[in-house]
Amino acid sequence: MPMADLIAWLAQTFALVRKEILALVKDPANRTILFAPALMQALLFGYGATYDLTHVPYAVVDQSQGAASTELLARLDGTGVFRRETTLASNAQIGDLIDSGKVLLAISIPSDFEHRLTVGDTAPIQIILDGRNSSTAGAAAGQIGAIVADYGRSLGGSPPITVERRAWYNPNLESRWTLMPAMIAALSFLQTLLLSALSVAREREQGTFDQLLVTPLNPMQILIGKAIPSILVGLIQSTIILLIIRFWFQIPMNGSYWLLYLGLVTFTAAGVGIGMSISALSLTMQQAMLYTFLLVMPLMLLSGMLTPVRNMPQILQLLTYVNPLRFGIDMVRRIYLEGAVFADVALDFIPMLAVAAITLPLAAWLFRNRLA
């Protein structure tokens, strides 16, 4: 008899899951809105989200006009990154060019540059940077510093210690390699959260949820029926992004796909759990959407996607422990880039599982207990 009960329970749940999936994908507009954006965003952000300098227009005021300054500027132009837009006669002309954004920086070489170098004095060069984007300014200054130091070494003033840098997991330190694996988690998170948040709220607004509650289905079954389609959509979106990263951008995958998907299922379940709780609390789709937006921004900003969690103040770092996106991104990056094994990322699973284990039953409980 208990066996028969279980089979009936599973059959009921399965019927609901089937109905929910059909309701979702039968509408062509839904299919487009759920799967096309993942593809488009992965491509757009793959090319657009980069901290790597590729084009730095600059202006030069070369009052020295000697062999040394010419050689130094030639080295700068030889990088392919720095493009000399214009040569100015005096420092006074720099202001307008930087203000209007025509150049990112200006290099000013004083007239006694050559002379100072030959007599063995310190020869200063001035660079003026547009600091409106301090990251770009910092990176450009760093590269010029390296080129100047390199040139200085070639003149014979070699420092006694050389630092040889090697970057693991991302040999050329390309920012795309850092950002794109994070997208596997982040992009699907946004849409699945909203999808699950709207699921029950829509039925509440249309009045069909009461009908669902008087069926033989218990809240746990309704929860499973509503959660599984959202989790599947999330996993499909993640897969689309994963394929683009792997085969279009050709970022090598160093870990196990099994482990990656185990992590993604956990992560998506936690996200859907939050969404379902929002949904169970909302009376209308408008409310569900508002609460989702309210949560999504902080969750994104505190995820370590754009700026590392380590740079945040202690109290905000503590807050990130309830943010599944933080651990989802960390987990994907580690498995994808660092080839992490289960023991390495086990700690990432705990907060995600905890969020899922609290929010999913909470949502089921709220189905019956928030009947307003």
């Binding site: 590729t54 990251s135 003033g157 210690i161 630092v163 740079n311």
Partner: protein, 375 residues
């Protein structure tokens, strides 16, 4: 004359209805005012590209005083925290467990090679976070070069010459990332407010059939658009003031441009953002699709493609074209310059004109989605 007064009367009546609806379901108002507050705090305190106290494993395979002196500079850096590791195996374990961000290894033959004038130190960074890795590389290099200069000066072998770089960063002298992130906050808040407050307004009426009942009244599409816009412009304006106050007084970001121009540009962009939400609402006619579209069209593009953190100079041409199509990009350029550089009139006029054009265009196409037609 009578048609003009009819316009005012209908507009007023519709606006009154929208205001009542806004006030009745408090969640709209609540989120509209709370979200910017949360974002202000997160932006000012939570987001930072400035690496501090990054743990770095130090492996001294050569324990000579010279080797210790060479890496001493790392401990002196305010950005790095040295962590002693007994050997490479331990250091590798630490970097894999993310207990350290980088490894500095002084090889066994360091002293020997130094005598020969070719001393080498190995630095291994975790490239999985490329920004932090680059920053750490810079700081480690700096620390070691300082130490090596000291050694040189003492031994008297230094040539004293060489080229030095005198660096001046305009607009953000200290290079604090908060200064460029906080003005961007204004863009994100306006974008979000616009998208989520208005994107369901028309779709909801289509779903419930109330819009069709409006067709039999003398109400015209433009009046509907304006009445749905008005209450939310007020919420957006309050948010704008909160952002400006926080930027100026909480985070002490300078406002070097004209405050009036900033307010004018923000209101202009706010209207564009609200109209974009209404347009999405009017074309989808379905709350589910409208909210997904609003999420996709507002938040991520404004964050990733508007030049907020990623400099548009570095992206391929196709992406530059896409970002130039986003109203957020033009507003971003405006606020960054108005806050940090000053009022650069040609740029202000160009971008304001583009935003105004977007406003007119969106008002027109949104009105078209409301034409009295049954299908």
């Amino acid at each position: 004359m009578s048609s003009a007064s009819g316009f005012h009367r209908r507009l007023l009546a519709l606006t009154r209805k929208e205001v009542r609806q806004l006030l009745r379901d408090k969640s709209n108002l609540f989120v509209g005012l709370l979200l910017p507050l949360a974002l202000i705090l997160l932006f000012g305190y939570g987001l930072s590209f400035d690496v501090k106290d990054a743990p770095v494993a130090i492996v001294l395979e050569d324990r000579s005083p010279a080797a210790q002196e060479a890496v001493a500079g790392i401990g002196g850096s305010p950005y790095l925290v040295p962590v002693a590791a007994a050997n490479m195996d331990e250091a590798v374990r630490l970097i894999r467990a993310h207990k350290v961000e980088a490894i500095v290894r002084v090889p066994v033959d360091f002293s020997q090679r130094r005598a020969a004038g070719d001393a080498r130190i190995q630095l291994i960074v975790n490239g999985a976070d490329s920004t932090t890795a680059s920053a750490i590389e810079g700081y480690v290099n700096g620390g070691i070069q300082t130490a090596s200069r000291h050694i040189m000066d003492r031994s008297g072998s230094g040539s004293g010459g060489g080229i030095t770089l005198v660096q001046r960063t305009w607009f953000n002298e200290a290079g604090v990332s908060t200064w460029y992130l906080v003005p961007g906050l204004l863009v994100l808040v306006m974008t979000l407010i616009g998208a989520f407050l208005t994107s369901l307004l028309i779709a909801r009426e289509w779903e419930r059939g109330t819009l069709e009942s409006l067709f039999v009244t003398p109400v015209r599409p433009l009046e509907l658009v304006l009445s749905k816009l008005a209450p939310y412009v007020v919420i957006g304006a309050i948010d704008m003031v909160m952002c400006l106050l926080a930027a100026r007084f909480l985070f002490e970001v300078p406002i070097r441009g004209s405050l009036i121009v900033i307010i004018f540009a923000s209101l202009l962009y706010l209207i564009v953002a609200l109209l974009l939400g209404l347009f999405i609402s009017g074309t989808t006619r379905n709350q589910f699709a409208a909210s997904q579209m609003a999420l996709l069209a507002s938040f991520m593009p404004a964050m990733m493609l508007s030049g907020f953190v990623f400099d548009l100079r570095n992206v391929p041409l196709v992406i530059q074209i896409v970002s130039q199509l986003l109203p957020a990009t033009h507003f971003m350029e405006l606020v960054k310059s108005l806050f940090l550089a000053g009022t650069i009139w040609p740029m202000v006029l160009k971008n304001c004109a583009i935003l105004a054009a977007y406003g007119v265009l969106l008002a027109f196409v949104t009105g078209r989605t409301l034409r009295k037609r049954l299908d």
